[in-house]
């Protein structure tokens, strides 16, 4: 059930969905997000840095993503890590549930009719 809080953000754009999905498993830096998105989509959807940071800026302003602490002091200072917030995780779950419904409907309508038996 989609709450009133989440409803205005659904459905998610492909870029937003992929970014949130890439952060669902672990905190990642920008380049890590780009690589994870390419991996998840088997190379079919590639995010450029411009698209990525435009979306990250929007997601951070909307409270779906926040900056995480650096993993080690030896990390490149230009490398910043991002993580999902509780709200972002809830939104991703709601979108996945919505997509599951779409897939269920599609399977139902596209089902090839079973061939009739010859009498």
């Amino acid at each position: 059930m989609v709450t009133e809080e989440l409803a205005p953000f659904l459905p998610l754009s492909p870029a937003t969905l992929h970014i949130l999905l890439s952060l669902a498993g672990e905190d990642r830096h920008g380049y890590g997000i780009m690589q994870e998105v390419a991996r998840q989509s088997e190379g079919q959807y590639k995010l450029g840095p411009g698209t990525l940071y435009d979306n990250l800026q929007k997601l951070m302003n909307q409270g779906m993503v926040e900056e995480a602490a650096r993993r080690s002091p030896q990390d490149d200072p230009r490398r910043r890590y991002y993580r999902l917030t509780k709200f972002g995780r809830g939104l991703l779950s709601a979108e996945i549930a919505r997509l599951e419904g779409v897939v269920r409907e599609a399977r139902h309508h596209l089902r090839v009719p079973a061939p009739r038996r010859a009498s």
Binding site: H29, G30, Y31, M34, K46, G48, P49, G50, T51, Y53, D54, L56, Q57, D76, R78, R79, R80
Partner: protein, 131 residues
């Protein structure tokens, strides 16, 4: 060369976005160009530049206002050239007198300036709020 070009593209982004993400974007450029060609990244940088100024900063409102005002000026200018009427034709109504047209043109120019000024102030305010 391509790195300098990409850096220039980043420098042209709105200040708030540049301060927040330019360092990381340049780092990704360095990492990604080692793995593949830089052309895709340059195209993405250009698209990002347009998106940041036009969509996120609201400059499209200024452009739309400017286009509207320009249309007004052009329409009025074309009207002013229709004054040479053939003999026997009815005279133009008083409302389309030469001085009225000039006044309208001046008014349209004033509107253009007002729209540009308001849009510019909105952009600057938005940029300050984000920073």
């Amino acid at each position: 060369m391509t790195r300098a070009l990409y850096r220039s593209l980043l420098w042209l982004h709105p200040p708030a976005f540049r301060r927040e993400f330019a360092g990381e974007m340049l780092w990704i450029f360095d990492e990604a160009t080692a793995a593949g060609g830089p052309l895709g990244l340059l195209a993405d940088g250009l698209a990002s530049l347009a998106r940041q100024w036009v969509v996120r900063c609201g400059a499209w409102k200024v452009l739309a206002g400017l286009a509207g005002a320009l249309l007004q000026v052009l329409a009025l200018a074309s009207l002013s050239h229709t004054r040479a009427l053939p003999a026997g034709a009815l005279p133009l109504p008083r409302s389309l007198d030469y001085y009225d047209l000039e006044f309208s043109r001046g008014l349209a120019l004033l509107i253009i300036l007002l729209v540009c000024g308001t849009g510019f102030r909105a952009c600057v305010n938005l940029s300050r709020r984000r920073s």
